[in-house]
Each structure stands twice: as C-alpha cells, then as structure tokens.
C-alpha cells in the first residue's frame, strides 16, 4: 500500500468514505492514464472537484442522468479505458439497473460503479435516498463483483484491487465522518477473500460495510459475558468466500449476518443461499434493515430502530444462542 494512504488515515477516518474514494481515485489516476472518473451532477458531493480540476480531460459529468452514466461508462470501458462511475447508492444501481445488466454485466465491461451513502446513511432525507436493495439487485447480475468495505484503508485497498480486477464491480460505501478504523496498518486485501477480524467459537458475526465495527463492538460485549465470538469482515459479497464460511459453519454454533440492507438478497441472503446446500450447518440469524420503508430519522436513530447497534447485536446473538 502506498505511504500516502497511511498518512491520510486520520483525515480519512474523520471525513468518511466520500473523501477516501475520491482521494484514492486521484492516486489511481496518477498511476494509470486509462483511469477516468464520472459523476451525474454530484461532483462536490462525491468530493471529485480536485479530480475534475487536476484531470479535466479524464472527468465527465453527464448531468442528472444515471442511465446515461452507466451506458457511457460501459462504452468507455469497452474501448480500453477504466471508468469509475460515482453516484449515490440510492440512485445509481437502481435507476439504471437494466443498464448495469445489459451494458456492464452482459458485456463484462471493466467499470467500477461506486455507490455513496449506502444503506440509510442519508437519514433525514427520507426513503427515496436510502439504498436498502442495491446489493440484492447488483448481486443478481452475472459477472458483477459486489464489495462493501468496512473502513478507510479497506476502502482504499478495495479500489486498488478493482483496478487490477478484470470485470464489473459495484462498490457500496457506508462509513460516514468518523469512519471507524479497523485496519490501522497495511494488511492483505483480496477481492473474494474475507478477513477474520477476530476469532471465536460460539457466535460468529459475518458482517459487511461499516457495521463490521459494530459487530466487533458487539463481540466485546459477548466476550465479557463469556461468549466466545468470531467476527468476519465479509467485504466481498459476491463472490462469497465460501472457504471462510465453511470454517465458520464447522466451528461456530450460531451465525449472525449483519448488513445495512434489506434481509432479502444481501449478505444474509447470500450466506443463507450457500448454507441451503449444506447439511448440518448452524443456525443463522439475519440482522438487517427489515423488509420495510423506514420511519424518518437520522442514521443513529435508524440503527437503533433496526436493532443494528452493538448492544442490539449482542442481545440478538445471546437470545438465539
């Protein structure tokens, strides 16, 4: 990992995922002339003003036109460029879902689509601005890789991994300002290879996105009660790391999947689908946003309301053990 990234860690944690991805795209652009960035009238929101100013010929704002954003990116990719199309997770994989399928997935275009403020991070803006279904939609498109990194450096490293990866990627980002740091130093990040953040033999939290930090905090609570708890950072939801899951199923008594997403088709769904073919796997509980539109509230309120805070997760695990 480049030193510049480590030097920025404190700033990145303070600023949140928008800044991490924008700064990383600048680093990638400096190293790879084929990298281009795109936005749909969200340049300042996506913190891409420095990119636009530094690389005016490699930055495209297509207007408020998400379908065009995806198709245009696909065209660039088919001709050898490496587009990173950045938008709000609530808008970008959903409005152009069909373009994601036909223009990117079907043609294996090397486009990385970045969904900012995924889950219910946009709290007071209301349900049109929540992305509770993006993993489900993109996961169902063949050839797509789906990544939900958990912290600043894993977000940074995931973007570098996208650059080396052949094929379409959707990256959903969650951690806002105060992005919890799980990895303070360089570490091994590979697409499709989950990270055992902490080991334990009773409960296993299998989590993605910034909720990995909450799962880790929940694990502390359980440990203090003598319940041995494993935490898996399942940053890649597709392809799923089934080797890691095999270990979890063999060694843990209860699996709690944790995601800021609908209970259908997300991380919990992916784990359950894999588990369905296995005999004797342990019980799984899906901690999620539920199958509903949300009441209005800020992010903290919604996490509490949906039982996704550390004490809630610990209680859920304890009740199901």
């Amino acid at each position: 990992m480049n030193k510049a990234a480590l030097d920025k860690l404190q700033d990145w944690s303070a600023a949140g995922h928008r800044t991490v991805q924008a700064d990383t795209l600048m680093m990638l652009a400096a190293e790879h002339p084929e990298v281009v960035a795109l936005s749909a009238d969200l340049t300042p929101t996506a913190r891409l003003v420095p990119f636009k100013d530094t690389y005016p010929d490699r930055f495209f704002d297509v207007g408020i036109a998400e379908q065009n954003l995806i198709d245009f990116s696909a065209g660039l990719a088919l001709e050898g460029l490496r587009p990173f199309a950045v938008g709000l997770a609530a808008m970008v994989p959903m409005r152009p879902a069909e373009q994601m399928r036909a223009a990117i997935g079907y043609m294996k275009a090397n486009v990385t689509v970045i969904g900012l403020e995924a889950g219910v991070r946009f709290g007071p803006l209301g349900n049109t601005h929540y992305a509770m279904d993006d993993i489900a939609v993109v996961r169902a498109i063949p050839n797509f890789t789906v990544i939900a990194p958990s912290d600043p450096l894993s977000t940074h490293k995931a973007l570098y991994a996208c650059m080396e990866h052949e094929g379409p990627v959707y990256m959903r980002l969650t951690g806002g300002p105060g992005y919890p740091v799980l990895y303070p130093d360089d570490f091994d990040f590979q697409i499709g290879k989950a990270i055992e953040y902490r080991s334990g033999s009773d409960v296993a939290f299998v989590a993605c996105g910034s909720l990995v930090a909450d799962a880790a905090a929940a694990a502390e609570i359980l440990e203090s009660k003598g319940i041995s708890t494993r935490v898996v950072d399942m940053h890649t939801i597709k392809p799923l790391d089934t080797e890691m899951l095999d270990t979890v199923f063999a060694e843990n008594r209860l699996v709690v999947t944790v995601e800021e997403h609908s209970p259908f088709g997300g991380l919990g769904g992916a784990v359950a689908e894999y588990k369905a073919g296995l005999a004797g796997a342990p019980k799984q509980v899906i901690a999620s946003l539920g199958d509903k539109f949300q009441r209005l509230g800020d992010h903290k309120f919604l996490m509490k309301e949906n039982g996704l805070t550390a004490p809630d997760l610990a209680a859920l695990a304890e009740a199901n053990l």
């Binding site: 408020i64 036109a65 800020d298």
Partner: protein
C-alpha cells in the same frame, strides 16, 4: 389578468413562506436543508396554493381538487411552508421538519391528508407520475388540473423526456408543468453541467410553452397559470419560469454553495435581517 387582491395575497404568503423556510431549515441544525432550491420556487408554489389551485385544507382529499406534484422534491420546504400557511399542517408539525419520527422528511412523502400528493426525491419521477394523474382525470371525466413543479437540472433526466412525449401523445392539456429555471443545479450552473436550450426542446416535444422572464413575480405567474389552466388546446402546458436560486437571501442568491447545507447562527441572523429588510 390576476386581480390586485390575489397578487397581494400571494406576495404576502410568499414572504411568510420564505420565513418558514429559513426557520425550518435552521431548526434542522446539522441535518441541513435545501435552502436555495426551495427559495427559488416560493412564488411559483405560493401562486398555485393561494391563487390558481382549487383546493380546500378543510377537505384535503376532495375529489375535484387540483393536484400539485412537486417533482423537484428536494425543495420540499417550499411545499411544507405553503401547506403550513394554507392550514394543512400546524406550526408544531412544521417544527418537526427532518426530525426523528417526523412525517416531514427532506423529500415529500405521499400523505394526501396533509396535502402531499406524491412522494418524490429521485429526480424525474414526480413529473412522469403527474402525467399519469392527468391521464386518469381524463379517463374519469374529471375537470381538475394537475400542476407539477420541475427543476431545470431535473430536465437532464431521461424519464422527463419519455414522459414529455407521452404527455403529448395523450393530449394532456389538463397538465400544467412549471420549470423553476434558476440556472443552477447541484454541481454547478446548468450552463456548465448540461448546456441545452430547454425551451426549444420542450417546443420540439410538442408542448405549449411559455417563458416567464421573472418567475419570482407573482403577477406574471398568476397570469400565466390562469391562461394555461383555462386552455384546452390538446397540448400539455409548460411554463418555464426564470428564477433566482436562493431568492431573497443576500448570500444565497445565485450561489453554488446553497444547494443543501446546514445554516449557522450568523447566517440565520443575516437571513432573517434580509427578510425583514425586504418587508420594509
């Protein structure tokens, strides 16, 4: 021609609505508000609610009410302030804007009981839904009109043009759309982001188009709305109202910085002073 009392009422309500926008947005604290987009729309929404539209806050779901669809949903404060002034919602309810458990989110959520016809927030959709509502009125043989507020940046969206063609196909002359052309969108000016002649595009799509040089002027708005409401020429109607983003607040007018953000104490005091000065 709009009568003098109506013009005065709309101007008076517009001033009160601006004050509500500032108060609600300021009270939202760190949650912020879309100040600029709401302020450019104030006279348009005030003209509709206090001049043009047939509606009754005592009977919010009456069958023959005119419908208002705010497609540029991020400017919800323009709608909420009108609903407050018209008596659909109380001051207490306005004070909950963006709060935990409130029904007044940062984008409108359908709630006909309180005068909110359509949920919006993802740009383009409200307009296409409004076209469906206008067609439904025709199918049912109802005389009410559908009014729809659209952003100029919002016209970048593909669904806007899909719906524009469809509205012409079905001869939706009971639909009056108003573009709040404030010449600014989120990331920059409309000229910088997508420099198109929207007037020519709407005409080419087959709409009956009228451009208002001052879309923050109640008299011209009321006249234009009245004329289009009365017209049944077989074409959907479009008023392109040239406005100022952040209208009425010195440090917001035409600014690229006031699309959406929190307001601090100093800014709040300045905003209130600006409104009080304007009131004289």
């Amino acid at each position: 021609m709009a009568n003098k009392e109506t013009v005065e009422l709309v101007e008076q309500k517009a001033a009160l609505m601006r004050r509500h926008v500032i108060e609600m947005g300021y009270k939202a604290g760190g949650r912020g508000a879309h100040f600029g987009p709401a302020l450019s729309s104030i006279e348009i929404v005030a003209s509709l609610f206090f001049g043009t539209m047939n509606h009754d806050p005592e009977d919010p779901t009456m069958a023959d009410r005119d419908r208002f669809v705010q497609s540029k949903g991020h400017a919800c404060l323009a709608l909420y302030s009108a609903l407050g002034e018209a008596g659909y919602i109380t001051q207490e309810q306005m004070d909950t804007f963006k709060g935990d458990g409130s029904f007044l989110a940062g984008h409108p959520t359908r709630n006909p009981q309180y005068g909110i016809e359509v949920s919006s927030g993802t740009l383009g959709n409200g307009f296409a839904v409004a076209c469906g509502m206008a067609k439904a009125a025709k199918i049912k043989g109802e005389d009410h009109k559908v009014f729809c507020l659209v952003g100029d940046g919002e016209c970048n969206e593909g669904v806007i043009w899909e719906a524009a063609m469809n509205a012409v196909k079905y001869g939706l002359d009971n639909l009056v759309a108003i573009i709040d052309r404030n010449f600014v969108q989120l990331a920059g000016t409309t000229k910088d982001i997508m420099d198109v002649d929207i007037e020519a595009l709407w005409r080419a799509a087959g709409w009956d188009v009228l451009v208002l040089e001052d879309g923050n002027d109640a008299t011209s708005l009321l006249d234009a709305l009245e004329a289009m409401k009365a017209s049944s020429n077989g074409k959907p109607h479009m008023i392109i109202a040239n406005t100022t983003k952040g209208k009425g607040i010195s440090f917001m007018e035409g600014s690229l910085n006031w699309h959406a953000r929190p307001m601090n104490d100093e800014q709040y005091e300045q905003a209130v002073a600006d409104l009080e000065n304007a009131a004289g």
